[in-house]
């Protein structure tokens, strides 16, 4: 892996001179709390051009995340963003650019993709944009897993147009009717020479911290009291070719509560009840599981090998009374057997052999795979075990098809850029759970842990009562089933005051079990965090039910207290009051991203990409990347 010294440099397509990257770095800071993360992402832009520069950077949101606001800092100015309806924000940005002010626009599009546009960076100027995000985490009984996308994987869409404009550089365009004016970055197979990334995060688990580890990055760890720590990148800089993943573990799996009174005099809280608190239901009943394996082109190499290993590990964990099915999909879905079969040793061997013949190719028609699996499982509650990198676009359509299918989906995300945001939604919205593994991790452990959940909730008919909490109610409906290793999460609000208790009931065999959980509302900062995360969840859930461009979408006011976060029908915009013109003309640049580490180099080729021979037309690309 190149360190940034060799490989590619950025050339100005018009002059043939080496140009400096307009985006120099991305630095992630913030705090990871037991209920979620409050993040500040700093983007540094610098223009080496002789004319004003407009730069567009594209990135993907983490799970359950919302863009809150941003701040721009430059030589002699400091501006804050304002949240406005898309059209208004766009008008403000355009006006600012035309009049010569430094203008910035951040807009969320489908699939949680964001375009950050910075216009009129003056020659030689250094501009820093600080984006404020709230993001969800992958909750575990004894801690959490945090993931931040440092790269934006190209995602399959049947109408996408993809080309390899020269060896190692690809471009992708998505249909405008669905994605509006979203601009995707140029994709590079080599991360050398791209912007640098780094992070410095504080962690506060609220209970005694056992370990913090990362399967993706080398960490520098500094303890900060018994419950907290700071982690940062152990080297000076890194390349953006994989997501950041942090595993935070507490000494013991206990009930965690974050709550407090917010500025609007209402209290918000999030309570996590570990699955172990619900006891064990034995003996385990037989189950029917259909494996849904993504064998699309983007899975080629390590991801597909990992996916196969995951299926094999699960096969070993099935009993002879269980029934199984297997669907591999790319553009079409292919069945192992036309009906579910019992897990006899012979059938398992047959499936193992079948598995060997599965090869990566074609597009990612995930909805087709899910529909085929549901049909195979027949009526009733089917459990689907989906193994995919989730590199698909228009995820809202897949979500609505999956909800309608009526099956419970458990998702195992594979690869350095598995779409965590989407796979989390896919599992949650269908009543299942999700996990992901990075290319360096053992896939069998994660697969088995997740597989233990398939068809076997640890507690069902879970109900939460707020009677012992004055003014208490759930902001988001809590899950009705609890799965092993995954805590029950209750996000709610209550009257300002001393708090109270939640009463949780569930079916334990033929009897009802009961648990009282105290809710403390004594920390205003926790309350504010809980409120922001609830807002982000509401927006994410609501957005997952929409599709297409925002014409006719509801105004932001729908979320009342949460309207300060940015859903796709709102944008944040900011302009300086800096009279900068009159400018002769501007240059334009987009910050390229690299292909994620685990992706086969030209993944886009397998989705029907055309190769375009180099010609004068391509060399006119601004800020084009050339190998040096």
């Amino acid at each position: 892996m190149s360190d940034g010294n060799g490989g590619f440099t950025v050339m100005n397509g018009e002059t043939g001179q080496e140009a400096r990257l307009a985006m120099e770095g991305l630095w992630l800071t913030g705090c990871i709390l037991p209920v979620g993360a409050r993040l500040l992402v700093a983007h540094t832009f610098r223009s080496a051009e002789d004319r004003p520069l407009e730069v567009v950077y594209a990135f993907g949101l983490p799970r359950d995340a919302a863009l809150r606001r941003f701040r721009i800092l430059g030589e002699g100015f400091r501006v804050r963003s304002e949240l406005k309806p898309v059209e208004e924000a766009r008008r403000q940005y355009e006006q600012g650019v035309t009049e010569g002010h430094l203008s910035t626009l951040a807009r969320v599009y489908r699939d949680g993709r964001v375009n950050l546009s910075v216009g009129n960076i003056r020659p030689g100027e250094l501009v820093k944009v600080f984006l404020e995000l709230v993001a969800g985490v992958d909750w575990r009984d004894d801690g959490l897993r945090f993931r931040f996308p440092f790269t934006l994987a190209p995602c399959y869409h049947r109408q996408a147009r993809a080309v390899e404009i020269e060896p190692g550089v690809g471009e992708m365009e998505l249909p405008e009717e669905e994605f509006g004016d979203l601009l995707l970055p140029p994709y590079m197979t080599d991360p050398g020479g791209l912007h640098q990334v780094g992070f410095d995060l504080s962690i506060n688990l609220g209970s005694e911290l056992a370990t913090v580890a990362s399967p993706s990055h080398a960490l520098r760890f500094r303890p900060d009291g018994p419950c907290g720590a700071r982690v940062s990148l152990s080297r000076e800089r890194d390349v953006p070719d994989r997501d950041l993943v942090l595993d935070v573990r507490a000494r013991a799996a206990g009930i965690r509560c974050c709550g407090g009174v917010c500025r609007d005099h209402r209290a918000r809280f999030t309570v996590l009840v570990p699955s172990v608190a619900f006891g064990r239901t034995d003996p385990a009943p037989p189950r029917s599981v259909v494996f849904v394996l993504d064998r699309s082109g983007s899975m080629e190499g390590t991801p597909l090998e990992q996916a196969k290993k995951a299926v094999e590990a699960c096969l070993g964990a099935m009993s002879e009374k269980d029934r199984m099915g297997f669907v591999a999909f790319d553009n079409t879905a292919e069945l192992f057997e036309p009906a579910l079969v019992t897990c006899t040793p012979a059938n398992r061997d047959k499936l193992r052999q079948h598995l060997e013949s599965v090869q990566a190719r074609g597009g990612t028609e995930l909805a087709a795979g899910i529909q085929a699996a549901v049909k195979l499982a027949g009526a009733g509650s089917a459990d689907l075990f989906v193994i995919t990198d989730g590199q698909v676009s228009a995820t809202e359509d897949i979500l609505s098809a999956s909800r309608a299918a009526g099956a419970r989906l458990h998702c195992l995300g594979i690869g350095a850029a598995s779409q965590d945001r989407f796979l989390t939604l896919l599992a949650r919205e269908t009543g299942g759970v999700s996990r992901f593994v990075t290319p360096r991790e053992r896939v069998d452990t994660a697969a088995l842990e997740l597989f233990a959940s398939a068809g076997r909730p640890q507690a069902s008919e879970v109900k939460v009562s707020f009677q012992a909490l004055p003014g208490g109610r759930a902001v988001l409906p809590p899950a009705t089933e609890v799965f092993e290793g995954h805590p029950l999460v209750v996000m709610g609000e209550a009257d300002a005051g001393a708090g109270g208790a939640l009463e949780i009931t569930w079916a334990a065999g033929r009897k009802k079990a009961r648990l009282q959980v105290a809710v403390a509302l004594d920390n205003p900062h926790d309350g504010e965090t809980a409120r922001l995360l609830q807002g982000a969840r509401l927006i994410t859930d609501w957005e997952s039910r929409l599709s297409g461009e925002p014409a006719g979408r509801p105004p932001g006011s729908r979320f009342g207290t949460n309207a300060e976060s940015s859903p796709s029908w709102n944008s944040s915009a900011a302009t300086t009051a800096w009279p900068a013109g009159p400018w002769p003309w501007w240059r334009w640049s987009s910050a390229p991203v690299t292909m994620p580490r685990s992706c086969p180099p030209p993944a886009w080729c397998r989705w029907g990409c055309r190769k375009i021979p180099a010609s004068r037309a391509t060399s006119r690309l601004c800020g084009m990347i050339r190998s040096a």
Binding site: V56, P582, W588, P613
Partner: protein
Amino acid sequence: MAAETPSWSLAELADRAGVPGRTIRFYIARGLLPGPAKPGRGAAYGPDHLARLREIRDWQSRGLTLTEVAQRLAGPSRAAVPLEPVTWWQYQVADDVTVQVRADASPWRLKQIKNYLAQMATGLRANEERKEPQ
């Protein structure tokens, strides 16, 4: 059509074409669309820009990527005309090795290729010298 003098601002052009201003600037930077007739704050656009924008949209709707659109706009595709003469430079790297390089490659590319050819020549020479004493 071109007789009319360009007088629209970028916002007006954007409204008429139904294409966001940011996208129009992106097209201009990529060479798909000519820049404004008048530079600076009073940048003006005319019917030619509008016609070109519609042409780009039309090609896009037929499945062409912007890079392909740019190639079409640049004139008849060189790749599609097989009979067009192409000049090649021939470099003798060693007594028994010659390499051909397209003469119309861009200056930076030629510089890069020459650099690698020099490396190759040095490598081959070093190999020869190692062999000779044996």
